[in-house]
Amino acid sequence: MDGHHDRDNFDSVTGHSTTGHEWDGIRELNTPLPRWWLGVFYATIIWSVGYWVVYPAWPLLTDATRGVIGYATRLSIEQDLATLRDFRAAQSKGLAEASLVQIKADPDLFRVAMAQGKAAFGDNCAACHGVGGAGAKGFPNLNDDDWLWGGSLDTIRTTIQHGIRFAGDADTRVSQMPAFGRDKMLTPGQINDVANHVRAIAGLPTQPRADLAAGGKLFAENCAACHGEAGKGNREMGAPNLTDAITLYGMDVASLTETITNSRNGVMPAWGGRLDPTTVKALTIYVHSLGGGE
């Protein structure tokens, strides 16, 4: 009986013993787990017990077991953040104390300001002005050298601080171009003449049927007060230079007609209320360094 059993449990092809299980003539070889494997397996179980004790492990109703060393990922993140804040504070201290001109002249401060300004720009300004300050129609390109309100360090800072036509800031930059067409100050024909005159002083071709002389006269009467006789603009009033190669709303007749008819009054928020003075400084340095700073 026993001998028979033994023969049953031995597979002569492989030289292995079998488990004695058999399905349709297919017998299962007895290949136990290697001892070292089992050893490691039990060791990990023991290890896990230690783990429960040392680290947070078991979820409770409102909390979880804390573990004896008091480790928590949230704590370590808080520590990291505190370290970061301290680091930043040390870096920004110099910025807070120095004037814009001093920052611009000091390589180290300049580096910090640029880094901080770039980050702040991405968070706050890029939505309208584009990632690199590239601008779009109606949103000035900050890389060029054409400024509505001035491109010096101080004027840039004032613009960032108080915004443009921003209702919530008493010192905001204001200027308002009349809506000459909508308010019936000029007829469509006159508007067309003015538009062509503007193109003429910008050195662009004009429409043959336009009356440039009339346009010139109308410009002198209605526009020159802000834009100047020659259309060179006036930064005190945020009146753009109409003769240079840069335009915010377009210099084609249709765009010009739209601008003269309905006027354009872009708005920029005053950041002074939302950002601390050091960040505004850093932003100023960053914008100033984009290429057009004066």
């Binding site: 033994d6 449990n9 031995f10 002569s12 030289g15 292995h16 013993s17 070889l29 007895n30 290949t31 136990p32 290697p34 001892r35 611009k104 002249a105 000091d106 390589p107 300049f110 580096r111 640029m114 584009g130 990632v131 690199g132 300050g133 590239a134 601008g135 390109n141 890389n143 060029d144 050298d145 054409d146 230079n241 240079d244 190669a245 840069i246 360094s289 984009l290 290429g291 057009g292």
Partner: protein, 478 residues
């Protein structure tokens, strides 16, 4: 038919403890010399000084991981030049292949750290426990005070050597004298102790305990080597044409007198006794043999003693043995297609590396075009592109670089930030052994005709040393 319990099946053949006997001879001497040279270099090199000037470390060989620099005598490598290591590794592999094509596992027998340290550990073992016979006898005998102190002494010295091995390793990653002082006063970084512990463990277990098992079971080289070798590679060979049949000296004389052929092998087993891996070379080439040549020394000693010609075991090929049996002359072909190709490749790669090193610049420039916006039109109609330029200064002193740009009529460059100028060129000062990033604006006047994109060359010239580096990029227009 016996029932075999799978549990009892070992994963590999049970290891027989090898008790290599001491031996003397030219191969043994060569191995000692190589051992002293290799270990001497390994243990002492970190202390060698090399003056690089005030701002750089003065350690001849240093992997400065914290600052991303690698120093090797007059060479300083930056992370982006890691291809030097690639080149070095390629050469190392090719040299290994060439050695293998010439004489099989020379690497294993003489140069491999596993072999060198095992040799050292065996020497220690011999010093404490005596030669082969004595060691076998003591291992078989019951524990005694004598056995205990010899074993303890041996393991203690092994551990010291292993610890020293790890200690020397970490010295390559920091200023050696400082680190030694820190280690001694327990103020060194934790990682240093951890690495020393790891290497102590590996050295002790690999060279002290596992020894030939590493070569037979763990190391990939014997497998690769077997696939790379050919019939003309010299191997430690038992010349069975001369050795067989094995008979004693007296019997050989008698047989020969009767006109019956007799071999020169007297079956003294000396070749097996000295073998560090415990194999019998007379069984032919085998994976266990690391080709250290010690059996040659052993056999030659025996042959000299019984006044037979030496060289019964020698560097030879199996083909030559067969040729001699067939009555032909042996053929040694050192110059073959594969040795020639390996040698040529070594020359090519080595030459390329030497050329690279000789023409290596100590400055560098890389340019990245700003994408937002790609270009800007200025109020006077001129077009401007901005770039981020990175200047590298690989010298230990501060260097001013003048930036110029060329390739377009009237093109101008200016940099952002507090900068000096020289002859209207912006000057960027880069600190010793570091790099500096700077934003630059490049402007082309309105009257220049521009395509959508045109090539542009940036040049940085060292105002003092005159070194010039260039980078190409593009100027984008509407």
């Amino acid at each position: 038919m016996a029932v075999i319990d799978a549990d009892d099946l070992p994963l590999f053949a049970p290891s027989k403890k090898v008790y290599p006997q001491s031996v003397a001879g030219p191969y043994r001497r060569a191995k000692w010399i190589i051992l002293v040279l290799c270990l001497g270099i390994y243990y002492l090199l970190p202390f060698l000084r090399w003056d690089r000037g005030p701002n750089l470390p003065d350690q001849a060989v240093l992997a400065d991981l914290a600052n991303n620099r690698f120093y090797f005598f007059f060479i300083e490598i930056w992370p982006q030049e890691i291809y030097y290591f690639t080149g070095l590794l390629i050469i190392a592999a090719l040299v290994l292949f060439l050695m293998n094509a010439v004489a099989g596992r020379v690497w294993c027998g003489y140069l491999c750290p596993q072999t060198v340290w095992t040799d050292l550990f065996l020497a220690v073992e011999r010093a404490f426990e005596g030669d082969r016979r004595e060691r076998i006898r003591r291992d078989e005998s019951p524990w005694s005070l004598d056995k205990a102190w010899r074993k303890t002494g041996k393991h203690a010295v092994w551990l010291v050597i292993a610890w020293w091995t790890g200690g020397a390793w970490v010295l390559y990653f920091a200023d050696a004298p400082t680190l030694v002082r820190e280690l001694a006063t327990f103020t060194a970084p934790v990682s240093a102790y951890v690495w020393i512990a790891i290497l102590t463990f590996t050295t002790y277990s690999l060279a002290g305990i596992m020894r030939e098992q590493v070569c037979t079971y763990m190391c990939p080289w014997p497998r690769i080597q077997a696939a790379l070798t050919d019939d003309d590679a010299l191997n430690v060979t038992y010349r069975y044409d001369r050795g067989e049949p094995r008979v004693s000296v007296k019997q050989a004389q008698r047989l020969r007198a009767e006109g019956v052929p007799a071999g020169d092998c007297i079956d003294c087993n000396q070749c097996v006794a000295v073998c560090p891996t415990g194999v019998d070379i007379r069984d032919g080439a085998q994976v266990g043999c690391i080709q250290c040549g010690l059996c040659i020394d052993a056999c030659n000693t025996v042959m000299a003693k019984i006044a037979y010609p030496t060289g019964l075991i020698a560097y030879d090929t199996d083909d030559n043995v067969k040729r001699r049996i067939a009555g032909h002359r042996p053929v040694y072909r050192l110059l073959r297609l594969r040795t020639a190709i390996y040698a040529a490749l070594i020359l090519v790669v080595g030459g390329a590396m030497i050329y690279q090193l000789a023409t290596r610049q100590t400055a560098g420039i890389s340019v990245l075009h700003e994408r937002t916006p790609l270009f800007v039109k200025l109020s006077d109609g001129s077009i401007r592109n901005s770039y981020t330029i990175r200047l590298l200064n690989k010298r230990p002193e501060e260097r001013p670089f003048a930036l110029t740009v060329s390739g377009l009529p009237g093109v101008r460059i200016e940099t952002i930030g507090p900068q000096a100028t020289a002859d209207l060129r912006p000057v960027v000062t880069v600190e010793p052994d570091s790099s500096r990033e700077i934003r630059a604006l490049v402007t082309v006047p309105a009257d220049v005709h521009l395509e959508k994109s045109q090539p542009l060359t940036f040049t940085a010239s060292d105002l003092f040393a005159g070194e010039i580096v260039r980078a190409e990029d593009h100027f984008i227009a509407p």
